[in-house]
Symmetry: C2
Subunit: 107 residues, 2 copies
Amino acid sequence: MDCQPNCCSPEPDSEPLATLEGPEADESLAKLTKALGHPARVRILRLLARKEARVCSQIVDELPLAQSTVSEHLRILKEAGLVRSSDAGYCINFDGLRRLKALIAII
Amino acid sequence: MDCQPNCCSPEPDSEPLATLEGPEADESLAKLTKALGHPARVRILRLLARKEARVCSQIVDELPLAQSTVSEHLRILKEAGLVRSSDAGYCINFDGLRRLKALIAII
DNA sequence: TCATGCCATCGTTAATCGACGATAAGCTAT
DNA sequence: ATAGCTTATCGTCGATTAACGATGGCATGA
């Protein structure tokens, strides 16, 4: 359960951010922002970014939400590519976050 | 109906971005990203950013959506502080966009 | 083996969202 | 004044979301 700089295992293999313009990019950005469009999920992402939590139960302790609800929020973040999970727990998906930042930056 | 560098009238008075951390910032970021969490709204924001449209009817022409739907999307963007409106039409609210970028950047 | 802790999933409920047509209000020309 | 254009708002309907408790599957430690 060691913790690299980026937590979890090393990032699989940094994708080239794909396209940043056009309808596909709009979909992509909408998907990412929609996933982040809830206070609890912003909070969760921050907790993971600061490594103040790595397992679901720790996050549950930090939030006024039931375990199943937190699990669902994590699922949404993972599905959007903002979070990854391994046997060591959850961690930020820096690729996804980078892509989000890039897509926002060029609006 | 002249168009300044930032379209519409000059930005009212650049707010100091307020706080970027804490529960309030989480709410704030969630609100901004939720507003952007729909492909049509991403598209609209881009159109406004590129000044490819300034009035609602132009946006309607660009999207496969009814006028009332576009109007609603504009309302949501405006309510989130990402868009402003004047008698000259709609334009990006650069303050809001800047705040969004800042909040995202420090995650 | 059996208890404990961790987590995903299911089923449910209330609330919110997305989209539309219809309608009304305001402006600008004719 | 009236016709046309632009936009906001209302009511509606179906789909999606947020939240919960209950349940069950896996580990690990006793």
